[in-house]
């Protein structure tokens, strides 16, 4: 890196070109933002008009699981693909157990015994409240997933106990739940991913429960599968977890 002459050092040239480009882009973007004008547009009024039909009282949850359920459904598919891809990189069909050598110290152990149940309760509460207050399936799933990761890191057994079948089932639950509900309603005469207003609340809670579990397990899978420990890899490619 001693060479700082942009004419001979390609790295320096890239830096300078990128800086110039960035400043130009900043000017363009800032102008675009300043040029937006004061007229409020958007879909707030449309959502508020029909929120009574959605089955939930909290506008973002209504959009997420009813009005724009299609986006959410495909987003769960993205999560499924990422978790499945990460597991495939490890050639794992189950989440391997944390090696026993990583046993926690007494302080961590005590803390985890308090924090993990508390986090799981918080997650369930977030899910429950999500219908009429901030919260919902994704936040709840993230908190529960964090609790499961914490348990795992401190040597407790949680999602590692899931068999290959149940692990796949858990990753698939949110996507499949959406699909089953949507197909059933479609066959009953509604259009795809449209809920009947009087049953919407119940259906949304069912779908949210499944999404919560999928999000939690997917996050643990993403966290675990990201660690390619050499010994684990050897053990994995040796096939068959027993």
């Amino acid at each position: 890196m001693g060479n700082r002459d942009p004419l001979t050092d390609p790295g320096m040239l890239v830096r300078i070109l990128s800086s110039v480009f960035s400043v130009a882009l900043l000017a363009v973007l800032a102008f675009a933002v300043l040029d937006l004008g004061d007229e409020p547009t958007g879909l707030t009024s449309n959502v508020m008009e029909r929120i009574d039909e959605s089955g939930v009282a909290h506008p973002p949850t209504a959009v997420l699981l009813n009005f724009r359920a299609y986006d959410t459904w495909l987003e769960v598919a993205v999560l499924l693909l990422a978790a499945w891809g990460a597991l495939a990189l490890r050639q794992a069909t189950r989440l391997p157990e944390q090696p026993a050598a990583r046993s926690p110290g007494p302080v961590l152990d005590w803390l985890v015994r308090i924090l993990a149940p508390l986090a799981i309760v918080t997650g369930v509460y977030l899910l429950w409240r999500g219908t009429d207050a901030p919260g919902g399936a994704f936040q709840a799933g993230a908190v529960i997933g964090a609790a499961l990761v914490l348990l795992r890191l401190s040597g407790y057994r949680s999602v590692g106990l899931l068999s290959a079948f149940w692990l796949r089932g858990s990753l698939l639950a949110g996507f499949a739940g959406f699909l089953v509900v949507a197909t059933a309603l479609f066959l009953a005469g509604w259009s795809f991913l449209e809920y009947p207003p009087e049953r919407a609340g119940l259906l949304i809670v069912i779908v949210e429960l499944l999404i919560t579990w999928t999000v939690a397990v997917s996050f643990v899978a993403l966290f675990v599968a990201a660690r390619p420990d050499p010994d684990d890899l050897g053990e994995e490619s040796g096939g068959g977890h027993v």
Partner: protein, 104 residues
């Protein structure tokens, strides 16, 4: 200077800084960090616009729901990128993508 302008301009600044970082930083983890924060900057702009379009104190829930799904997609993409980068590191011992031509 409204709340919207403050955060929208911050979002443009973040986006540009992250783009610059993505181009100039060679370390893979640094690139992943830059990509993740770049996503955050776009979310910030969307949420600032949602705040600007509020009616009777209710911010536009449609961009909010989109950002919520976006955050989950971003973390999935980041985690998958990290898994790839770590596998790459485990296989080759490198932390930067090497150019076969040696052009950069």
């Amino acid at each position: 200077m409204s709340l919207f302008l403050i955060y929208a301009l911050a979002a443009t600044g973040l986006f540009v800084i992250c783009l610059h970082g993505l181009i100039t930083r060679a370390h893979l983890l640094r690139k992943i960090l830059a990509l993740n924060m770049m996503g955050s900057s776009v979310f910030l702009l969307l949420i600032a616009i949602a705040w600007r379009n509020r009616i009777d104190g209710v911010a536009d829930p449609v961009p909010q729901a989109m950002v919520l799904t976006g955050i989950v997609v971003a973390v999935s993409a980041t985690a998958f990128a990290l898994a790839l980068a770590r596998r790459y590191h485990a296989e080759t011992g490198e932390t930067e993508l090497s150019d076969e031509d040696g052009s950069t």
